[in-house]
Symmetry: C2
Subunit: 419 residues, 2 copies
């Protein structure tokens, strides 16, 4: 945190205006369509809508599909979309263009790469994970365990990871930034530790991509997956991505072998021959409409300096934290995220016994964060569209909802399906 | 074929106009956006664009995503979309609403159900398939074979299927309507044969759904998958669907266990507990934009009588075939599809040694069919948007391209990526 501004951030709205006026990322806010009266601190769950996306989708629907019909697989480049989007994503995660493809869901990609990783390390039986991992990653690993007699998922607590690496670990499946606490792994150090004993690491970058600078190749990462609908702003349920380092590609064999991953899909041969590079990780037909929305989100990232994103993200988070703790003390809410900003992603998590109601009361006031059972409130800071004044407003609203107990109303207790 | 009109169909454009004027499905053509000057006979590859879809997508993008943001998972019903779309699809395939979900690709769904089927028949080692099956189905089966030591894919030729069922067949993975020849299985008879020896049948309905009446439950079908982007008009790469009969659901265990298939996904428990019904077949987050387009396509089907669709489909196909064979004889092109209309789906396949060029020359004249290696031309007849005059025009154009050898030009030999 060699950022003098960060050290000096106070709770002064005038200072916020100055910071916004000199923000090198300020222009990106204009590229997003944000509803009036809403301060959106949930970009780590669903990113906001880029203005260009509506017209992009409309063009894909009416011109490419409606007029071009089947011809658009060639003429509009639909068939290359998994690789083209992968190429656009690669610089955001510090990968080469030929190491990334976009498609399927994060869960399906995790499944494919976990099986592929086990095959790259025959004789080893352990999938190493943290029990604090995003639960769906654990569910996927359980599914892979069931398919491979002998393979065992080993869950360890935070702090026990380093010691848990041994010669039996085929692969560690780790979330780079914890979905709940926002705690961030040191990718380079953990990968080096894994490689010491010959293990692979499969990183889940769902809460990292577009939130913090990533250097997959510099970190010698083996494999990764990530999400298109959070900080990449690809739309609800946007296709996910996967990364496999070049050095592993020739030997990588994934389990869902299907036509788009075939070396010559239009020969319609009955023998499966995997495509040469990362294309072999693909399976079925890409969902073109959802892919187009994600491509629009990725295009917005093309001129963005991710180190600027990180710098602003740290400032926004610290600002939020200081306002909350300065005005409330630490008795009303408890910071669950690491206090050291260098160990955090781009969101903050606080514990409050009535967190669900607090979040609902805030939404009623136009400040959108989210809640994770049993008592965690999350507030995310997407630097492309959040201003300093927004974060000041959000923090102030949280303070006031808690001080005035606005949350303590029956209507805020009604649980929705999705929390 | 108890259809007197069908028996009397001639090559008379005036008769075509009369048939269009009295067509009970004529109104549906108005519901589609079709480009000027194009006769579209490729609905079995990518269905046409329903007019309502552009505005539906625009609303999902700008209102539900842009304004509603994360709240739309509840308020716009995004979270229930896999089951809601499944419920809308169920009547089209003769299933109950609680037996169908929409999501993932056909390949991924095939993978999940094939593994699930093997688990339902422990001790049996054979996956029975036809070598003429759509190649991607064979690739998926090979992938499943590799995951299950002992399990073997057994490929048999057409005509050898019946004799190939024995007590070792866990599941037969069969395409109901052949993607190339259009030949259709008797679902009820094949299923009964499989059940005689205790095998399951997993039907690929990609070329059947929305093309022919389907009665999954009446046929005692076990499992099925199908495609959203062909006759359902869900858009390029639309999500696929899967069906599991109620009697199997409680014991069905699929391999890609992930959060959307969990009994209580928002409890974020580390233990995977499958949801009670067909929901357990889901894995990752649904691709909402692509799902919305498919839902728009499904809504268009809500008032459609599939038996009328079949009746018109048979008339359109017979008409095309008679024009072609009456004017060309059978020496210039060879019908690859069964001659008996009751054994065909909704497309016709012809062999011609220069089929690729012929199809390109036709596209240049606004008649879109497609080509499959090495020598097969396919022409599909989607009764919701194709008129009798269209089919008359398409068949006439094919005759003229062949008679005048319009196809014999260097520019038609240039192969595109997607054929």
């Amino acid at each position: 945190m060699d950022d003098p501004v960060l050290e000096e951030i106070q709770m002064d709205p005038a200072q916020m205006e100055t910071l916004d006026a000199t923000d090198p990322l300020a222009k990106y806010r204009q590229a997003f369509s944000l509803p009036e009266g809403v301060t959106y601190c949930d970009g780590m769950s669903l990113g906001a809508l880029p203005k260009s996306t509506a017209s992009r989708i409309a063009k894909v629907v009416t011109q490419e599909w409606g007029d071009g019909l089947i011809r658009s697989w060639n003429s509009a480049g639909w068939i290359q979309s998994p690789q083209r989007l992968g190429g656009k994503l690669a610089p955001i995660i510090g990968a080469n263009e030929d190491e990334v493809v976009v498609g399927d869901s994060t869960s399906v990609n995790l499944f494919k790469l976990l099986v592929a990783a086990i095959r790259l390390r025959p004789g080893r039986q352990t999938i190493l994970m943290e029990s604090s991992n995003f639960p769906t990653d654990i569910y996927v690993a359980r599914g892979v365990e069931r398919l491979h007699p002998g393979t065992k998922v080993k869950l360890v607590g935070a702090g026990d990871l380093d010691a848990a690496f041994d010669e039996d670990v085929a692969v560690a499946l780790l979330t780079h930034i914890d979905y709940k606490t926002s705690e961030m792994h040191d990718m380079k150090a953990v990968t080096a530790r894994a490689h010491q004993v010959g293990s692979l690491v499969l990183w889940d970058l769902s809460h990292s991509t577009g939130a913090v600078p990533l250097h997959l190749n510099e970190s010698k990462a083996d494999m990764a997956v990530g999400c298109g609908y959070k900080y990449l702003n690809g739309g609800p349920g946007a296709p996910a991505f996967l990364f496999v380092a070049r050095r592993h590609l020739h030997a990588t064999e994934q389990p869902i072998t299907a036509w788009i991953g075939h070396d010559k899909p239009f020969d319609f041969s009955i023998d499966y021959v995997p495509a040469a590079g990362v294309t072999r990780l693909l399976s079925g037909t890409p969902t073109i409409l959802s892919m187009s929305a994600l491509e629009s989100g990725l295009d917005l990232w093309s001129g963005v300096d991710v180190s600027q994103v990180r710098k602003k993200s740290l400032r926004l988070s610290e600002l939020f934290l200081r306002i909350v703790e300065h005005r409330l003390g630490t008795s009303e809410v408890k910071l669950l995220s690491p206090r050291d900003p260098n160990r955090r992603g781009s969101h903050l998590a606080f514990q409050h016994p009535r967190g669900y109601e607090v979040v609902q009361a805030l939404i009623d006031q136009g400040v959108i964060g989210d809640f994770r059972d049993p008592d965690v409130m999350r507030f995310g800071f997407a630097p492309l569209y959040l201003r300093y004044v927004d974060v000041w407003r959000a923090a102030t609203a949280l303070v006031e909802v808690l001080q005035s107990r606005t949350w303590d109303q029956p209507r805020y207790r009604q649980r929705a399906v999705v929390t």
